[in-house]
Symmetry: C2
Subunit: 407 residues, 2 copies
């Protein structure tokens, strides 16, 4: 039986021509040379190699060690490159030219696909914010009075965004045990995950400009899964009054693959009904649906512990972008903003261990033992898919990370 | 009378050979070419031009449009370059070679001197934090329980750090008037300044490493003045529970000049006595004094409204750096971290209008009228000096900004 071509994908492969996420790879043979790759089935297309072979005008834009120049090129170029890629990978006339540029995934190393400019993390799930409010501030209202009037967000550390697969070293820090007179210092005892979706900005904006809801697709290139690792003991002691800092800044993991927004057109969905009228710049009742039907799975050591639905998010990414720039703050190519923990209304839809175990009160029962928070050696993998065209699925790049002991 | 050489500085010039701050400039004749400059009196030394003329091995490192490569080169190179510059600018043998590379300040434009990686803002003045706590949270303790155990900080927006002289556009945003049922939207009515000192990181650190107090000088290249513009009405509505976001992210101004740490050796001073024993990684009782005797002046439309003393800061920059990395967060070249508002114990030493006017209750009386917060057209200039060697003064680069109307 002749070997099958990697161009002959099985029907319905979630990394087929309707998906085509971008990443940056190097090969085992040439580890120092990072290049843009496009995932196709279980292979990576060397995008610049194929572009040269086929005489594309975009060869130079694709012959880069980071996605940033492509991100900066803007939506017309994103559309043109995506159409070319689809043509190269599906037209019989191109088979002979393209096939040599498809490399098995097993032969490549994947790298952080873009240089992160600013990283912002939102807090857009009503279910998550309500649960966290009940746990952290049992004395007060679960949601702060501003929560349904604006998408709450804060800046995180761009320099510690790492690619899927990077070990996560357990952070040291201060914690204040209940009833103690002074804080203790040591490795975090409440190391958690947050399952999120991240949005990658391509087209920048000028200082003083606002990006209205309608301009979302002009500025945002695509999405990644994101794990906003969180040390709850450090966070709960430090966060008043200026917000999370060291409880989050030790690592944030993103997928190696950035899924173009265009691949998610069939996943668009209406966000939940809003409980308050929104100010004009956030009122999305007259624009295209801003929700995305992305179904996430959270696995700890191979066991699925939660299935958070992204469609349940109260605030959309377009609202987050409009809010983030309403004060005139500029966008840069490579800005990354994340949704905040994705949690649905059901207990098994909660996107972090703080909620899943109710702050440790209700441990998870895994085959290898109970878990309240993460132990050294635990591996967390986030996966997700969304509806694609004609009943297909679009799989997002996974985000994996294993906990290494504190050093 | 022969024209005086710019190399013949008056005795005691605060930009003499004991100071030598670095910036990036272009000339009126060649506006597209940004280069590293070193301020000397009222002139700018074209550093690469002088280095070439004198055959320095550092010519290439200095022939750059940003300071980042010099910042990344590390302390031994910083020391060597500073010694060369001092030699070029003071040794009679070099006069003829150096003089052509001195350009009057009036003939240059100054630019943002380095690309900012991550920007972190601390909250290190006990006087400021106490005043703000009293104003924003009158019902509770002025200082949160963590305040004297760790230097509280948060990440700000690196992409909106701008150089002195950049107009500051009044931000739009949400505010919640007292007693209202829903937020309003419009230009901020409580636009404020925060007079701060910023620290510029040169030498990076690896993910997982901690930077102890003793390693401060290995990693930090120098200081700038910094104005953390703040929209108090936006901030007070948005900041619970995740901290400041749009109330700060519209602009942060820094000096065009980065003063090397070496120029501030004579300004080192003991920080205030601490009220609680500190955890080991913050305990600076056995290291060199971490305080800096920098005297700041805040002027609004040319009238000095405050004189905040940096020596009064509770937490030092070395403690801030040790804290910021104690969880293993890595440093990148170009990281900028700021002190937080500098306020002293006296009313006229307060570094923001929120404190100076007690949230608008006690307006400032300026010749052009009363001021609670900033009006369109107002110009704020921060200046500062520190003791230099042998009774001299080291003047820091000023930070100026004028308020432009909301657009």
């Amino acid at each position: 039986m002749p070997q099958q071509s990697p161009l002959d994908l099985p029907e319905g492969d979630p990394f087929g021509p309707h998906n085509l996420p971008y990443g940056v790879f190097s090969t085992v043979e040439d580890p120092g040379r990072r290049r843009i790759g496009v995932r196709f089935g279980d292979h990576v297309l060397d995008a610049a190699g194929a572009a040269r072979a086929l005489g594309s005008a975009h060869a130079e834009l694709l012959d880069q060690p980071l996605l940033n120049p492509l991100l900066a090129a803007g939506r017309p170029v994103w559309t043109a490159v995506r159409a070319e890629l689809r043509d190269w990978l599906t037209a019989p006339a191109h088979r002979a030219a393209v096939e040599p540029h498809l490399i098995p995934l097993s032969g490549v190393e994947l790298h952080l696909p873009f240089e992160v400019a600013d990283y912002v993390d939102f807090y857009a799930s009503e279910h998550h914010a309500t649960n966290v409010g009940r746990i952290f501030r049992p004395e007060g209202e679960a949601l702060t009075p501003n929560w349904k009037h604006l998408p709450i967000g804060y800046h995180g550390r761009a320099g510690t965004v790492v690619v899927s697969g990077t070990p996560v070293i357990r952070p040291l820090g201060q914690r204040m045990p209940a009833g103690a007179q002074a804080p203790e210092f040591g490795p975090s005892r409440r190391l958690d995950i947050e399952a999120e979706v991240g949005f990658v900005v391509g087209t920048p904006s000028a200082l003083g400009d606002r990006v209205p809801l309608e301009a979302f697709r002009e500025h945002v290139f695509g999405v990644t899964l994101l794990n906003d690792w969180s040390a709850r003991d450090i966070q709960s002691w430090e966060y008043r009054p200026l917000g999370p800092f060291l409880g989050k800044s030790f690592a944030t993991s993103v997928s190696a693959w950035v899924t173009p927004l265009d691949a998610l057109d069939a996943a668009r969905t209406e966000p939940p009904a809003r409980d308050f009228a929104l100010l004009d710049y956030l009122d999305d009742s007259a624009v295209e649906p801003g929700g995305l039907d992305i179904r996430i799975e959270v696995a700890v050591n191979g066991h699925v512990v939660a299935r958070p639905p992204f469609s349940a998010m109260y605030w959309t990414a377009a609202q987050q972008l409009a809010h983030m720039t309403v004060n005139g703050a500029s966008l840069r190519t490579g800005d990354l903003f994340a949704s905040g923990t994705v949690s649905g209304p059901e207990p098994e839809q909660r996107g972090c261990l703080l909620e899943l175990t109710w702050s440790g009160r209700d441990p998870l029962e895994l085959p290898e033992g109970k878990r309240t928070f993460l132990e050294d050696g635990d591996e967390v993998v986030l996966t997700a898919w969304a509806p694609g065209p004609d009943g297909s699925r679009v799989t997002l790049g996974e985000v994996a990370g294993r906990i290494a002991p504190a050093v």
